[in-house]
């Protein structure tokens, strides 16, 4: 037998998806910036290609990261992806070995059993049949978990599973039908011919005892073909687009392409690579503390793909970055969210054409009324020259214990420094950036940059992780930017400050913008370990919680913020520490109002432990100028 009409749906689907993916890749490549095109070309002939193949195997097929976070969920993904891959691979080999001709059309492999019903009589053939049955059984076990997950998500160890749109449901059903229909089609055929291995053979033999196997097989071959065809045709407009897209993502990432500030090919590829696995839902504090269940990253990705209005979702987020850490695909979720926030004002507007199969990008340049500055009223101040600048930040001015402690530490260390925002400074710009107002933020950044540049300083110390992040990332300065915990660590290391050991039990809360946001995890803990009894918590480093006070969320109510703060504080104070230590004025403020445990910034604890002359705090600049004179 060479041909049968039932293969037509499959063939249509297969050739459609192949043409679609090629077209889409060409469009994506065309939209890349010139440097990114070069990166991709270099990556293709370089080590990035090999790395990508390895990563595709480990992540797209084996799903190593999901397996690590959640074994059952990982197994589900692995059995479907890796199993299907093996089935195609070994199916193609089977068709190649056992057919008269080599290089067969794909349908010959997929429907091998239909065209070779007598296959499996020799021992080698039956051994191969056993392997094929084993792979099918592997897939079916994963499918069983997938169906169970839809009905009851806790089965795979998840609290929440993603909600689907209608078209996703149709695609899901066709995906679910593929393997059971293959099983039944093969079983009936095997039953009729007395062939097949442990799965198809036994099931077929049993079915043949009370059903006309020969007649029953044909409709199931049709169903198998139709399921495959439907799945392929719907794939581009459903979340299953992640299957081909993730391959591009991995390759682009390994080639060194970055997300950037604007929407583009890479952010779109990332958006389509989201499989809606739902791991981000369980990591989100808005979900598990405040019961807000419709704004998580998986939903944001979906809303972007569907061209829905995303501004509500994009702004209802603490930007704590917990989901970034957990995403098994490695999508830069927070950065994509930031692009959407910026997009409120200007930038790219994607238009859906051809019912979702293709999108065209339209760039709307929003008309800025006039080019004049919003911040003309800011007055320049001259602080004179200094090696080290201390910038407390607005939030530290609202938590004066922190800035006073820093002055105490700076004075004790006898370094030459200048407290540049002692009389109140200009905002670092990050709150505006988080609101998507980059242009306005840039004005503040330029203003502060000039002031810093004029001072001739080589080091800028700040007490606020929010300022720290923006100084590091968005200021183009020739100074070293340090958070005060890093600075204190240095003072300890070079012996500039002497401290007593405080016999106090301390637990450390890593602030989002300092830890996940800027990668500063160790110095704060090292400083605390040096002066106190630092205890571990269940939420350390990348897994640390958000205090709930984040500036980034402009949608959430204060009641919900409080719920998040309360949950986080309760978790951290489980073992009754004497002090809940943090390194951010905003975290300090947020936690202080929800816990009876003393909340203190690391600088306060260090100031408390300082040995030696106790200098009256609050007169930093005075003492400092005397010191500066003495040094001359």
């Amino acid at each position: 037998m060479k041909f049968d009409p039932f293969i037509i749906p499959f063939n249509i689907g297969l050739y459609f998806i192949l043409i679609y993916v090629v077209t889409r890749s060409v469009i994506w490549f065309r939209d890349l910036s010139k440097p990114d095109k070069l990166r991709l070309q270099r990556g293709f002939f370089g080590i990035a290609f090999g790395l990508s193949l390895k990563e595709i195997f480990m992540e797209s097929l084996i799903h190593r990261k999901i397996l690590k976070t959640n074994f059952r969920l990982g197994y589900m993904h692995m059995s479907l992806a890796f199993g299907w891959f093996l089935l195609i691979l070994f199916g193609t080999i089977e068709a190649d070995i056992f057919s008269a001709k080599h290089l067969n059309a794909p349908y010959k492999a997929i429907f091998f059993r239909f065209f070779n019903p007598n296959h499996g009589r020799t021992s080698f053939e039956s051994a191969y049949g056993f392997l094929m049955d084993l792979i099918l059984a592997f897939i079916l076990s994963g499918l069983f978990l997938a169906v169970a997950k839809r009905i009851y998500s806790k089965i795979v160890g998840m609290k929440k599973t993603t909600r689907l749109k209608i078209i996703d449901k149709i695609a899901l059903t066709s995906l679910w039908l593929i393997f059971p229909s293959r099983l039944l089609a093969e079983s009936f055929t095997c039953g009729a011919y007395g062939t097949g291995s442990f799965l198809t053979g036994s099931l077929g033999a049993w079915l043949a005892t009370f059903l006309p196997a020969q007649q029953m097989a044909y409709p199931f071959w049709w169903l198998y073909s139709i399921s495959l065809g439907t799945f392929f045709i719907l794939l581009p407009i459903t979340r299953y687009m992640h299957i081909p897209t993730e391959l591009f993502l991995i390759f682009m990432r390994n080639s060194g392409i970055k997300t950037g500030d604007q929407a583009g090919t890479y952010s779109e590829v990332q958006t389509y690579s989201c499989s809606s696995c739902g791991i981000c839902l369980d990591s989100c504090q808005l979900n598990f503390s405040a019961g807000i269940t419709n704004i998580q990253s998986a939903y944001l990705m979906k809303a972007i793909r569907n061209n829905n209005d995303v501004s509500e979702i994009a702004h209802n987020c603490l930007m704590c970055g917990r989901c970034d850490q957990k995403c098994p695909v490695g999508i830069e979720l927070s950065q994509i969210r930031m692009i959407q926030r910026r997009g409120d004002e200007t930038e790219n507007d994607f238009r859906n054409i051809y019912k979702g199969y293709f999108r065209s990008r339209q760039t709307n340049i929003s008309e800025k009324t006039n080019g004049s500055s919003n911040y003309n009223f800011l007055q320049e101040t001259d602080h004179g020259k200094a090696d080290i600048l201390y910038f407390a930040g607005c939030m530290s001015h609202l938590t004066p214990a922190i800035k006073n402690s820093m002055i105490k530490i700076l004075d004790a260390s006898e370094v030459k420094y200048n407290f540049i925002d002692e009389q109140g400074g200009v905002c670092c710009g990050r709150p505006l950036m988080l609101a998507g107002q980059d242009k306005e933020a840039r004005e503040l950044i330029n203003f502060n940059s000039q002031m810093i540049w004029k001072s001739g300083a080589h080091t800028l110390v700040t007490s606020c992780p929010i300022c720290y992040k923006v100084f590091k990332e968005s200021y183009y300065l020739d100074v070293e930017v340090l958070h005060h915990t890093q600075f204190i660590k240095r003072l300890i290391d070079d012996g500039s400050v002497k401290m007593n050991f405080l016999h106090k039990k301390v637990v450390y809360h890593s602030p989002c913008d300092l830890g996940r946001g800027s990668g500063v995890y160790d110095e704060p803990k090292e400083v605390l370990g040096y002066v106190s009894r630092l205890e571990r918590s269940n939420f350390e480093d990348g897994n640390s919680l958000c205090c709930g006070g984040s500036l980034a969320n402009m949608k959430i109510s204060s009641t919900d913020k409080k719920k998040i703060a309360l949950d986080a504080a309760n978790e951290l104070t489980k073992n009754n520490p004497d002090i809940l230590a943090t390194a951010c004025p905003l975290c300090k403020k947020t936690f202080s109002s929800v816990t009876a445990t003393r909340v203190a910034d690391i600088s306060e604890i260090v100031a408390e432990a300082l040995v030696g002359k106790s200098i009256k705090i609050n007169n930093g600049s005075h003492i400092n100028s005397i010191k500066a004179l003495a040094n001359i």
Partner: protein, 341 residues
């Protein structure tokens, strides 16, 4: 057989309730966590609006409770609270078991802990004090800065911990405005050379003779009222307090140097009250105060039959209102006990 009622809290409400119940022939156990009764009244010097000495009110309440039908248990807290067939069994920290036919909760309020508004520097800067600290100074008659000198310019911040989303208190504590006016007048009386500034969001003078006092403060005593919330305070080299505030009527930001800053701490559900709510399963509202069964005709009733509320454990109230509310609670209790329960 005479009935027995346990009253939790020996402040203004609790004392009034206990006195009125005993007059009606009911046995009362009055539980007070401190060593003496009177609650916040003990910390206040003079009362608005007529500035009578708080001792007079205390004397009245003590007179009410000098009664052999009242057993006073001071230094006592409640560890267990159970309801069983219409009776209540209460276990105190000293292991004493009390059985009651009804319970009146009069756990009052706590002053907002001003250190939580760290931007005002309470506990950090020496010359930032609270309204309660100032009353203490009035009582001793010595209004001085930390270094012993007399303050020249004094700022009063309204709404500290009230109407403030950031600390989770949406509600108005209702008494701080008039307390600020009263204290401003008193400051001017004690220190005729001083200048006093009040920083307010709204002046809520909704009580008998409040408005008159407000007018007197402006016309007679020259107190300046500036509409705007203080955003932060810091200390200058010469040990003065530098505050930032927006004058919302003039529409401009303002920086001002002061010698002393007085924070009008708001009222919050007391810690003791929260404990009782947990032990007894009593409903609390979004403002964390006890939730009355009905806002109009059941403000003394709780969600549990036989448990009643009196005074500021349900909402901020002044002393006049507290005493009225306490008497209303007594009516409810007598009514409840009469039904043969």
């Amino acid at each position: 057989m005479s009935k027995h009622v346990v009253v939790i809290g020996g402040g203004v409400a609790g004392l009034e309730v206990a006195g009125q119940l005993s007059r009606a022939g009911i046995e009362v156990s009055l539980i007070e966590k401190e060593s003496k009764t009177g609650g916040h009244l003990n910390n206040w010097h003079r009362l608005f609006p007529d500035r009578r000495n708080s001792i007079e009110v205390k004397e009245y309440l003590d007179g009410m409770t000098h009664n052999q039908r009242i057993i006073l248990l001071t230094n006592t807290t409640i560890e267990r609270f159970n309801r069983n067939k219409g009776h209540f069994s209460i276990t105190t920290n000293e292991g004493r078991e009390l059985t009651a036919d009804a319970v009146i909760v009069a756990t009052g309020f706590d002053l907002f802990k001003s250190a939580r508004k760290e931007e005002y520097g309470y506990g950090i800067y020496d010359n930032v004090i609270t309204s309660a600290d100032l009353e203490e100074m009035f009582r001793t008659g010595k209004i001085t800065l930390a270094n012993g000198s007399v303050p020249d310019t004094i700022g009063i911040v309204h709404c500290v911990g009230s109407r403030d989303e950031k600390v989770g208190n949406f509600y108005c504590s209702k008494l701080c405005c008039v307390t600020a006016v009263k204290q401003a007048v008193e400051l001017r009386e004690y220190l005729p050379e001083s200048k006093v500034f009040c920083f307010y969001m709204d002046m809520r003078m909704g009580g008998a003779f409040y408005e008159e006092l407000y007018r007197e403060a402006q016309e007679k005593w020259g107190v300046s009222f500036i509409r705007g919330k203080v955003s932060e305070a810091s200390e200058t080299i010469e040990n003065k307090l530098l505050i930032k505030v927006e004058d919302t009527l003039a529409g401009r930001p303002l920086k001002m140097k002061l010698d002393m800053l007085v924070l009008m701490a708001g009222m919050e559900m007391s810690e003791g009250g929260e404990k009782i709510a947990g032990l007894g399963g009593l409903n609390t509202g979004e403002n964390r105060f006890f939730a009355a069964a009905d806002n109009h005709f059941g403000s003394n009733k709780s969600n549990i039959e036989g448990v009643f509320f009196a005074g500021t454990c349900t909402a901020p109230m002044n002393i006049t209102e507290t005493i009225s509310h306490a008497r209303a609670a007594v009516v409810e209790v007598i009514d409840y006990l009469k039904d043969g329960k």
